[in-house]
């Protein structure tokens, strides 16, 4: 977070076309809610520094899979996950791995903007504070500012950092949530339908932000809007009835999908 220079160099490397390998790797992931099986042998590679979109009809398991990646499913008592998910070749379901640390590495943005009912500053500062990322007030200020800048919100809120975060507009709230996720310096950012509660302009702003963020983060986004998936993502995965039906370059998926179910879904023929 603090060595801005190096991250800028990395940015440039990305722009020059440096390839990044797999960031998140899932192999044979199954999820059960009690007796009900929600995901069937999902195997997928998700590249770093790009946007991967999960699409599919409601209840297809895309959100469930997303929530496996930061182990948010742990909070549901009846949920059981088998298989293997690695981030940078590190098994995130390893018993020795601390789930709280994992969630600092894998940020999450939710469907409905959910800022804490606190000030804008406190919203962003909360994560760094509980993880002890800032030693002094000045460092914390710096983290808050850079995070808000990364979330393209700094200009709009810099004069009212002490106003409540819930007083912002829906789009601003969502960007505040992104800033909050970014503040703890994650590697992967999961977004669960981040624009479903936003108007088109706010959606466009968030999409622009996602486009910016992909230079530094591995972004995984669940969306119901096919157009949104087509607009923001480099790769797209289509889930149906708990099965990962097809995964590939977004261009291919949206012009010439190989699986009939994908084609039916994205052209609005699902029956």
């Amino acid at each position: 977070m603090l060595n801005v220079q190096t991250s800028e160099i990395e940015n440039r490397a990305v722009k020059l076309g440096t390839t990044d390998g797999t960031k998140v790797h899932a192999k044979d992931v199954n999820v059960y809610y009690g007796d009900k099986r929600a995901l069937f042998d999902v195997t997928v590679n998700i590249p770093d520094r790009s946007v991967t979109a999960f699409i599919g009809p409601s209840g297809c398991g895309k959100s469930t899979f997303l929530r496996c990646i930061n182990r948010m499913n742990d909070t549901i008592p009846i949920c059981r996950v088998t298989g293997k998910i690695t981030i940078d070749n590190e098994d995130i379901y390893d018993p020795s791995l601390d789930v709280v640390q994992l969630r600092a590495r894998v940020g999450m943005v939710f469907q409905k903007p959910n800022p804490f009912p606190k000030s804008i500053y406190e919203n962003v500062a909360y994560g760094p504070r509980i993880h002890g990322l800032a030693g002094t007030k000045a460092e914390l200020d710096h983290i808050v500012q850079t995070s808000l800048e990364k979330a393209a919100l700094w200009k709009e809120v810099k004069d009212r950092l002490n106003d409540p975060g819930t007083g912002l507009s829906g789009g601003q709230q969502q960007r505040l949530c992104i800033a909050r996720a970014v503040a703890v310096g994650p590697e992967v950012i999961l977004m669960d339908e981040p624009c479903s509660a936003l108007d088109p302009i706010a959606t466009a702003k968030v999409e622009e932000l996602i486009d910016e963020l992909k230079q530094n983060f591995c972004i995984i986004i669940v969306t119901h809007s096919m157009q949104q998936a087509a607009r923001v993502s480099q790769r797209t995965a289509f889930f149906h009835l708990g099965i990962l039906v097809e995964e590939g370059a977004t261009n291919d998926i949206f012009t010439n999908p190989t699986d009939k179910r994908t084609q039916d879904y994205i052209t609005g023929r699902f029956g």
Binding site: A230, T255, N256, I266, T267, R269
Partner: protein, 275 residues
């Protein structure tokens, strides 16, 4: 907006009676296509499905017209029939109107439906095919005009026969590719694409013949030039047919034809003195 909707609706009504036709055509091609699956479910939004079918209907109509005036223009050339030639010019106006119609519909569909995957290819293919058909119509008109210009000159028999053959081949190619489109048959389209070579080689030989003819007697130059342009027009109809074949292939398979296109039109490198 309202005018556009009106035009769509006016297009709807006559077609509605024969609605069952369109799905029947597509399902016929389902067999050989297999996994690729043109055995499509219907759209959840019915009017979308109807608009797509209407697009096909219009293209079929336009294709029919293009075929028709192309044949007529050959006849006009052969029979030196000015009336026929005038009919061709008139029909071409219909084709132009249809092109504008289809273009308008495609634009409105892209704006309102945001088609994806095969629907996107369908709509884009329609746009490209209408463009090609409109050009074919123009070329037929051009041939008809030349027929008018040379109506009062004697036509050397062997030359006319060559031209006639070439025209028939181009016409059958066009017919074939339009069928391939209606049936969503990529293999047939690919065959048409490959057969364009024949038209090109026929044009080559006709070109040489005409050159020789002109060199024999400078008085033939006027007639020969018109005939040469006529041949060139037919050759370009063949090129547009190949374009349509490519479009059909892309529409069905989602990829462009990869192997090099057979090219035997070497007239561009043929020098006058070589004859």
């Amino acid at each position: 907006m309202t005018t556009e909707r009106k035009s769509l609706l006016s297009g709807f009504m006559p077609w509605r009676a024969s609605r069952s036709e369109a799905p029947a055509v597509t399902s016929k091609a389902a067999g050989p296509q297999g996994a690729k699956g043109d055995l499509m479910n219907e759209h959840i939004v019915k009017s979308y499905e109807e608009e797509l079918a209407l697009l096909d209907k219009k293209i079929a109509h336009m294709g029919g017209l293009a075929e028709h005036i192309l044949g007529q223009s050959f006849d006009a050339l052969e029979r030196r029939d000015p009336k026929l030639a005038e009919q061709v010019v008139k029909t071409d106006k219909q084709i132009d109107q249809l092109e504008r119609d289809i273009e308008e519909q495609v634009i409105s569909m892209i704006a309102r439906r945001q088609p994806l995957a095969n629907d996107l290819r369908h709509v884009m293919a329609a746009l490209r095919i209408t463009g090609d058909l409109e050009r074919i119509g123009d070329l037929a008109k051009n041939i008809a005009k030349r027929a008018l210009a040379i109506a009062h000159e004697s036509h050397p028999k062997p030359l006319m026969t060559g031209l006639r053959h070439m025209g028939e081949l181009a016409l059958s190619q066009l017919k074939e590719v339009l069928d391939a489109y209606a049936a969503r048959d990529a293999d047939r389209a690919l065959a048409v694409w490959r057969d364009d070579e024949n038209i090109d080689s026929m044009y080559n030989s006709l070109f040489r013949e005409l050159l020789t003819y002109m060199m024999e007697d400078p008085r033939n130059i006027g007639l020969s030039t018109h005939l040469l342009f006529g041949a060139k027009n037919i050759e370009r109809v063949g090129d547009h047919t190949t374009n349509i074949a490519e479009t059909v292939h892309f529409l069905v398979r989602g990829v462009n034809i990869i192997d090099d296109r057979p090219k035997s039109d070497d007239t561009s490198s043929t020098l006058f003195s070589q004859g």
